[in-house]
Every structure is written in structure tokens, then in C-alpha cells.
């Protein structure tokens, strides 16, 4: 049998599915050979982006670059290969009293992916993007050369690669800072908001909290539009923890995580079931305000507790739509967006709303700009393209843009914002789609 490396590849949204060559190597020498012998290469970590960002004619999977290199336990600096997952980092960091400065809503992404997407989290307004804590990384360029990039060394490549979606080369290793924590728990407050005005006010009032995010019911109409629950949190100090947690504050009990066993049939998710789910979620919290302590897994990664949750959207897959609208135009823009979604009936579970802080001007390829960001899932069906088009038009009107890590069909005027990434060697299907739509 002769090996054939062409295979079906798809990312977390199960859309699109392509048949392309995908290789994985752990020796730098072999990676160099791969780079020299292939064209239109794109690196792929754990495939947790949603659309076609890490798909290409030749895919290099970093899954075998999964080793730690160093952990400075005194200063909280970690160095590892790019295929190491954030979950792996947490596994060794948390018991030592360290946490990731910035984490997205899943811990199952690779470190390389975190840099290429310059991921953000619930603390963007306070602590910025992942890149702020990256000290340096090693990048393999089109010639197969390995260069060290930092703010001082090869700084041009450093900044182009941050948020550069893998279009500048293959990130091989990275070194980044961790933050100190006293416990693995979060002091959380959840506050219900009846409408958009209330939730926007809550975000402004919560400015001084490290973590803020809201779950929003995007099927509400009229005066209920923007019905949501704001969650805000701080890493809990040991002394404030309830006794059952304070004895071993950095150790969490192992939890069983269920697995979605198969792709749900298409009819399971429809406007009615989503409405019922959203209603239950909102009613579950009977009080206006709840204060409690929860472990970091529940606070940051509620969906990671269900393995393969993407299968509930069925075999046709789903997209995640995430855009940002600048703050000044935020309220009006968000209202129009929510109205359009509610009217379409193509609702989504757990749409997430957040207020981003200032854009870091140095990290010019980074997605977050100051304003409101909304992320929601849509099942792929025949009406989806039209809905995305309508939403894109509103985002454009209000001067916003789309998060490339989740994009798979938005118009290129909202996605063609990367700079200094022209490089015929490293090209993703997403990048080709964006460029071709432009001309």
C-alpha cells in the first residue's frame, strides 16, 4: 500500500469539507522538506476554527509539535511547541498557581492557533489579546529557514504573524507569560438584563471587572430585544473561597464529560427547540442577580464539558458568525442585527455579546477593535447565505468587521483587513476566497 495523504478535512463547524493533502511531522528537518516541496501551504492546529481559515491546498498539521520546552515556575513563563493545546498548558500551570492571561471560550485550541488568530477572551477590555503576553516565537518561513520573532528581533514578522492567520509561515514554538492565581475558582456575578439598553449599561458599569461577557437570546423581538444575562468574574482569592474549595484551591475534581455520540438529524434543531432552550436558560436563573464561586472550567469553557458538541448541528454543519461594531454605533447596529436574526428565525443557542476594549495598534492584524462583538452559531442551510449577506450589510454600514477565525462566507470588504501577509507559499482557502471575491 502506498501512502496517500489526501483526506477529508474540515474544521469545527463541519463546513466546508474539503479533500486535501494533510501532513504532520515532528522533526524540523522533515517540516522544512515539506515546506520546500509544497505550495499553498497552511498550518493547522487542532482544527477549532470554524470555517476555512486553516484549510489549504497543502495542510501542515502541528498536532505532532506537542512538546513542552520549558516552564519557568518562578516567573510564570512557558515555552512549548505550537501544537500544544491550551488545555495542556492549564494542566501544568494551574496546580502551580498560574493561568493563561487570555483564553478563548474553548481550551482545545493550539498555541500556534492562538497566535495566528490572536485570540481574545472575556477580559479583552481589561487585558487585551493573547499577543500581549507572547514573548517570542519561532517561525518557519518559505525558504524553510527558522527565525526567532519578538518585539526586538524580526519585529516586522512578529507583528505580521500575530493575527496573521498562518499566512506568514509555520509557527513552530512559542514562549509566553502566565498570570498568577491563588485559586482555580472564579468569583462570579450573573445579572439578568431585560433588553439592550440594560445590558449595554451593565457592560459600562462592569468596566472594572476583569472578565465580562453576556449570553443573549437573539430570538427576542420588540421591547424584549437584547434579553440577556451578564456574567462577570474575578479570579477568587484563597481567603474568600468557601471552605469546601479553600483547602485545595488549585485542584479541581475530575468531572465526567459526556460525548455527543452521533450527528443529530437535521430536524432536531429548529426555531422552536432553540426558543425553548433559550427560554429555559433565561428562566433557570430566577433572581435578578446571583453571586457565587465556580471553577474556571465552568466559567471559561462551559461547552468543552460536552465532547463533540458540534455534532448537534447535524452533518451539514454550522457556521459561527462573529463581528464587531465600533462602540459609538454599537447600540443601533446591534439592534438592527438582532432584529434581522429574529426575523429570519434562524436562531442560535447561546449567542455571546461582549464589549471589546481598545485595539492594540501594534498588532495591526488583530481582529478586536473597540466596540461590541456578537458571536452566534447558525446551522448551514439554503437560507443561510442570504442571512449572512443581510448581516454583513449592516456590519458594513456601521463600520464593523468579521473575525477571520470564524468566517467562511462573509463578503471580503469585511474580511480583507490583513496586512503584510502576501506570500505565495502560505495561502489558505479562506485567503484565496477573500482575494478572489475582491477582484
Amino acid at each position: 500500500m502506498k501512502p496517500n495523504f489526501t483526506q477529508k478535512v474540515t474544521n469545527w463547524g463541519n463546513f466546508p469539507v474539503v479533500e486535501k493533502e494533510m501532513r504532520s511531522e515532528d522533526s524540523f528537518k522533515k517540516i522544512k522538506e515539506f515546506v520546500l516541496n509544497h505550495n499553498e501551504i497552511i498550518a493547522r492546529g487542532n482544527g477549532r476554527c470554524y470555517g476555512d481559515a486553516s484549510l489549504g491546498e497543502s495542510i501542515f498539521s502541528t498536532k505532532k509539535l506537542n512538546k513542552f520546552i520549558n516552564f519557568d515556575r518562578l516567573n510564570g513563563v512557558i515555552e512549548c511547541e505550537s501544537g500544544v493545546l491550551l488545555s495542556d498548558v492549564l494542566e501544568i500551570a494551574v496546580p502551580q498557581g498560574y493561568f493563561l492571561y487570555v483564553t478563548p471560550g474553548t481550551k482545545f485550541i493550539s498555541v500556534g492557533g492562538a497566535i495566528a488568530s490572536d485570540v481574545h477572551g472575556k477580559n479583552h477590555h481589561a487585558e487585551g489579546c493573547f499577543s500581549e503576553y507572547v514573548i517570542e516565537f519561532k517561525l518557519m518561513t518559505e525558504s524553510g529557514e527558522i527565525i526567532t520573532c519578538s518585539r526586538e528581533e524580526n519585529s516586522e514578522k512578529f507583528w505580521a504573524t500575530i493575527g496573521g492567520m498562518g499566512l506568514t509561515g509555520i509557527i513552530l514554538t512559542a514562549k509566553f507569560k502566565l498570570k498568577n492565581i491563588e485559586s482555580a475558582y472564579i468569583r462570579q456575578e450573573s445579572i439578568k438584563a431585560d433588553n439592550l439598553d440594560e445590558i449595554f449599561k451593565l457592560f459600562d458599569e462592569s468596566e472594572n471587572w476583569t472578565y465580562t461577557v453576556a449570553w443573549i437570546d437573539c430570538l427576542q423581538k420588540g421591547k424584549n430585544i437584547g434579553r440577556s444575562i451578564l456574567m462577570r468574574g474575578e479570579h477568587a482569592f484563597q481567603h474568600e473561597l468557601p471552605q469546601k474549595f479553600s483547602k485545595t484551591p488549585l485542584r479541581l475534581k475530575k468531572k465526567l464529560s459526556p460525548t455527543v455520540p452521533f450527528y443529530f438529524p437535521g430536524f432536531v434543531l429548529n426555531a422552536l427547540t432553540v426558543k425553548i432552550f433559550n427560554w429555559l436558560y433565561y428562566k433557570k436563573q430566577s433572581k435578578k442577580e446571583v453571586k457565587n464561586f465556580i471553577d474556571y472550567e465552568t466559567f471559561f469553557y462551559p461547552l468543552d464539558a460536552i465532547n463533540d458538541w458540534n455534532k448537534i448541528y447535524g452533518k451539514s454543519g454550522f457556521i459561527q458568525y462573529q463581528m464587531v461594531i465600533p462602540k459609538e454605533a454599537g447600540k443601533e447596529g446591534m439592534k438592527r442585527i438582532l432584529e434581522t436574526i429574529a426575523k429570519s428565525g434562524n436562531g442560535s443557542f447561546l449567542a455571546v455579546l461582549k464589549l471589546f476594549g481598545k485595539h492594540n495598534p501594534e498588532a495591526y492584524n488583530s481582529f478586536p477593535v473597540e466596540g461590541y462583538t456578537l458571536a452566534l452559531d447558525f446551522k448551514v442551510n439554503s437560507k443561510l447565505k442570504k442571512l449572512v449577506d443581510q448581516l454583513d450589510a449592516i456590519v458594513q454600514e456601521f463600520g464593523g468587521r468579521i473575525y477571520l477565525t470564524k468566517d467562511s462566507m462573509s463578503r471580503s470588504s469585511l474580511t480583507n483587513y490583513l496586512k503584510n501577509i502576501q506570500n505565495p507559499k502560505f495561502v489558505s482557502l479562506q485567503h484565496k476566497r477573500i482575494i478572489n471575491n475582491n477582484s
Binding site: M1, F5, S27, K67, I69, I92
Partner: protein, 241 residues
């Protein structure tokens, strides 16, 4: 722990699994044909588990100086040495390929295994884990040079288990079935029959703790191989397996 074939992803996953489960080893000796990648693994377990490890280059196809291993001792030996070679028709009639498959999987490996088995025997304790293959259960046209070498290795492990039984050393034979590793990358394997290195490591660890004698990684393989072993030869010889 002594690991032979440390570049193997299954071997590395097993080491991690054992450390995660809290097994303690004074030192882990990583024998390898590829120093660069194995040194990265040694560092990785040092960072992750503060586990001391030593990387030792070992090329089975060359003369081996056993004096180098004088001070090496442990209570667990994990052997993941395996070389698939070319299973094609050209591969079959290429003597270098055939010899290499037999050498690495059996003839040059067994003296090394014996060397360490002898140390275990003198100490009267420990476990030897050997990764053989379902390919050794019955020779099939698609890879029978590899299969026959693994059949010999399976027989060796079985004999060693018998020999060491009253010397208080346990021998575990693992028959992995399909695995998603470097060795099989790009081959069209049915995902339902294919284990990831992590899954394999978890299963091997379980078999190790339970002192199993022979274990298949995925249970379905014991059924498949039972059927394959029991097909009468006059039918089997006509099959394209």
C-alpha cells in the same frame, strides 16, 4: 522505565500516561533511533512531570556495545520497536528491505530484549511490555514479511513470559491493530478500527496494571483476528487480504 523505540508515539503516550497516573521512576531511559525528536520528548516530560530522563541512541542494525548499558536498570521495560518497511511487490523482492524488516522487528531486537530480561530475572521483579502486531497472527499477502517477523516476536514474548513466570517477572504482549501513527500515516485505515496513540496508551496501561498476558488495543480486534485465524487455509489462500 526503559523504553526501546522511543520515537514511537505509542511509547511516548504510554510514558505520559504512566506519569499522569502517578507512577514513579527514578529515571526513564529512552532508547531511540532519532536523538533530536527524543531529546525534545525527554525535555517535555521534565517540564511536565519533573521526570528525569536519559536519551540513548541505539541503531539495531549496527554492532551494539552492551557495556554502555551496564548501569541501566528498572522495573518496567516498554518495547515499541517496529519497522513496517515496504509492503509492496518491489519491497518483497528487495532483499535489503526484507532483511531490515526482519532485523529490526525480530533478529536484532531479541538480543537487546534478552539483555534487559536477564537483568529483570536477576532482580526477580518487573514487567516487560512488548508491542507486537495483529499482523503476526496470520500471514497475509499484503505484509507477510513484517507479519512473519512480528509472529516470531509474539512467539518470543510468549516463551519469555513462560520462562520468566517463576522468576517473578511478568511479560505483557500487546497487539495493537490499526493505529493512527507515523507508521501508518497516509494509509486508508477504517477510523472505527483505528486507535490513537493516547487511546492505545490508556489501554496498555490498564493491561499493565491488571497483569494481562496478551491484550489487543481495541477489543474489536480480538474478534477480527479470531475470525481471520479460523478461516480454513483452502479458503484463506484465495482471499485478497
Amino acid at each position: 522505565m526503559i523504553v526501546l523505540g522511543s520515537t514511537s508515539e505509542v511509547a511516548q503516550a504510554f510514558v505520559e500516561k504512566a506519569l499522569q497516573e502517578g507512577e514513579k521512576f527514578e529515571k526513564i531511559y529512552l532508547f531511540t533511533s532519532n536523538k533530536e525528536t527524543t531529546e525534545r520528548f525527554a525535555r517535555h516530560i521534565d517540564v511536565k512531570f519533573l521526570q528525569q530522563a536519559e536519551v540513548i541512541e541505539l541503531d539495531l542494525t549496527k554492532e551494539i556495545d552492551y557495556n554502555r548499558f551496564d548501569n541501566i536498570n528498572s522495573n518496567v521495560l516498554f518495547c515499541a520497536v517496529g519497522y513496517l518497511g515496504e509492503g509492496t511487490e518491489e519491497g518483497l523482492y528487495d532483499n535489503r528491505n526484507t532483511e531490515r524488516i526482519i532485523d529490526i522487528n525480530y533478529s536484532k531486537l531479541v538480543p537487546v530484549m534478552n539483555y534487559f530480561a536477564h537483568k529483570f530475572e536477576s532482580r526477580r521483579s518487573g514487567t516487560i511490555i512488548g508491542l507486537s502486531s495483529v499482523a503476526g497472527d496470520r500471514g497475509r499477502q499484503s505484509n507477510f514479511i513484517y507479519g512473519s517477523a512480528k509472529a516470531a516476536f509474539t512467539a518470543y514474548l510468549s516463551g519469555l513470559r513462560n520462562y520468566l513466570f517463576d522468576k517473578k517477572v511478568h511479560v505483557l504482549t500487546i497487539k495493537p491493530g490499526f493505529m493512527a501513527t507515523k507508521m501508518t500515516e497516509g494509509l486508508p485505515l477504517n477510523p472505527k478500527l483505528t486507535a490513537t496513540p493516547k487511546q492505545a496508551a490508556a489501554c496498555i496501561y490498564k493491561a499493565f496494571k491488571k497483569e494481562k498476558n496478551v491484550a489487543y488495543v481495541l477489543p474489536v480486534w480480538s474478534i477480527i483476528m479470531m475470525i481471520i485465524r479460523n478461516i480454513p487455509e483452502f479458503i484463506f489462500k484465495k482471499l485478497k487480504l
